[in-house]
Subunit: 367 residues, 2 copies
């Protein structure tokens, strides 16, 4: 079993990573501070619940907890105020009180929604995350919880830290290969930002990671979580440093928006975005080899690094504008300096980004 | 101008009390840390807005701020997720960003709703309270913000501190006399809990308070806010001590629930509740004179201390049960020890409370 401590003063919490952890979930809930005999609300979605919810509930009840469950439809559409209110209704009807806690069993959508419920039910009750995707290693560290407003994603939310994150590697075995790759994009992002050695390690162990070999996967999640935890520990409420976590995300979000959410998975889009960031770096004087190394790492994990021909450069730039990222033709951009180090560069010209997006298409065979 | 500092570490903030403060609101917003040229969302209700909103907007715009306004219907029904989402829509359409702030111009409903918007818009932006009722001196200190769920009041919310509270005494001049009295109930409650001298001072200066004489009113709000600020500073998230602020509220809430919200104003209901608490105290061995002194203070402020004949004791007890206040026939109750001191007493028998509620009716001429 691997353990990482996220250091946030009185809001510090552990991330526990290993196989077979759900068997001991009741003990972990006890360690998280949830009193035995209190009610736990488990939120999950209709993809994950059929696989793990009954087993989880049984273990919690054996451990003396009362369990209430709420299953939401899988997918981003469930991150709405409507579904949020429905989960609240379940919580109230079940008589959850201040000693109760919410458990999120699922990926990012479940974690974000359930976390916002925990943050705001009776002004905040206990929260524990059980991520069942690789991608969620990212969203489960840092305490960002939210739902979407019809006009904008993640606009309604809070910074609210869980009491514990329980990462049972066994729950990853059923992930579709494309979701595995998408999740690994955020893993290697953490290496590209802050840990050169880890980035190279990921390239070297790509085959083991793609085949979900437990030892390699456990180490990768531990390093990924630890790097993110360090950044969040320095800047919990995103005043500055935390922005480096957005490497590849400016272009990536625009690709997601233009393609329509779901065309590219999040990790795929930011993989292309990270390739783009390395091209921006080259234009700002960093060595061309940085781009080549970055691309070799991403492709080792079978991630895309080019834009399909049908994407229009204008549309991508337009999407960034819409996201209010540009101010007077300039943008603040996370630029890699070398593998394992990035800078927050203010005032990057729109023309540079435009050229890079064009290059991402030209470099590309249709993916 | 009077100033009180609420001491909560990095979440500390000042309460400013005085006449004519709204003229200098732009400077106060600057002091609160809201950057000039940023957008401020002023939330108010349709009772208060016609009186002060135009003037406030003009002063803010003169000071260089962009102002967006959202007016809600006056009354508790506006503390809903539906209205909350509407305010969010206004904020998003106006392009509020992380440097923006929400200003609550109004009483408790406006403060609770606008505060929850500020707490959760983009995971938390600046918040400033401009209370326009005496009652709001209580709700504007302590950071409790919330909306109601159809099944339960204040069930959805957060602890979220404002950057500043601006109490312009001039805005109180238009308060109906019944609201003045209701507000003074929470003022004297702070004396009854923790400040014997202040409680006697309120009785002595009742006429000046009831006629809104600025010097007396300013002092009373300063002491009321300061006492509450001390308690909140010790126990921000209501783990223990903060419960003493609920003096009179257990019986008071039950009276509100049975009467239908609106029959008694909140302060009136807790005034009866505080008289009841002193009767409980007598049954637990405190001197009978404590009840008489308490009643003399409440009646000096023209507040009710008895239950109208049509109220049924069973209904009141039933409402407390529903509120889950009783556990196995016993209840934790805030019991006065003397004027200016209270205890949190666990395990008070239902029979004692039942007897006291009956006495509140018997003592009473119909009010």
């Amino acid at each position: 079993m691997r353990r990482i401590q996220v250091s946030l003063g009185e809001r510090s919490y552990p991330i526990v990573i290993g196989s077979g952890l759900l068997d001991g979930i009741a003990e972990l809930c006890g360690e998280a501070g949830f009193p035995v005999r209190s009610s736990l609300l488990v939120v999950s979605d209709n993809s994950v619940a059929p696989l793990y919810l009954d087993g989880l509930t049984a273990k919690l009840e054996e451990g003396g907890y009362k369990v209430v469950t709420h299953i939401i439809p899988a997918g981003e559409a469930s991150k709405s105020l409507t579904v949020y209110e429905e989960v609240m209704t379940t919580a109230i009807k079940a008589g959850l009180d201040r000693h109760s806690a919410v458990l999120a069993l699922g990926g990012g959508v479940v974690g974000d929604l359930a976390g916002f419920v925990a943050a705001t039910y009776m002004r905040g009750i206990g929260f524990l995350q059980i991520p069942t995707t690789i991608l969620a290693h990212d969203s489960s560290v840092g305490g960002k919880v939210a739902v979407n407003h019809p006009l904008a994603k993640n606009m309604i939310g809070a910074f609210y830290q869980p009491k514990m994150v329980v990462y049972d590697l066994d729950t990853l075995a059923t992930l579709p290969p494309r979701d595995v790759r998408s999740g690994l994009a955020e893993v290697i992002k953490h290496g590209l930002i802050l840990d050169r050695e880890f980035a190279y390690w990921c390239r070297e162990h790509a085959a083991e990671l793609l085949s979900l070999q437990p030892e390699a996967l456990g180490y990768a999640l531990e390093r990924g979580c630890a790097i993110k935890a360090d950044v969040v520990g320095e800047d919990e409420r995103e005043h500055g440093l935390r922005a480096i976590l957005n490497l590849g995300h400016t272009i990536g979000h625009a690709i997601e928006a233009v393609g329509g959410y779901g065309t590219f998975l999040h990790g795929e889009a930011i993989s292309i975005g990270m390739a783009g960031s390395a091209l921006v770096a080259a234009k700002l004087g960093r060595p061309q080899s940085l781009y080549e190394e970055t691309v070799s790492m991403l492709t080792a994990l079978e991630l895309p690094v080019t834009l399909p021909a049908q994407y229009s450069v204008d549309d991508i730039i337009e999407a960034m504008m819409h996201d209010k990222k540009f101010k007077e033709g300039r943008i603040t951009f996370i630029v890699p300096d070398e593998i394992g180090a990035v800078s927050i560069v203010e005032g990057v010209e729109e023309s540079v980004i435009r050229e890079v997006v064009g290059q991402l298409k030209k470099e590309g065979s249709p993916w």
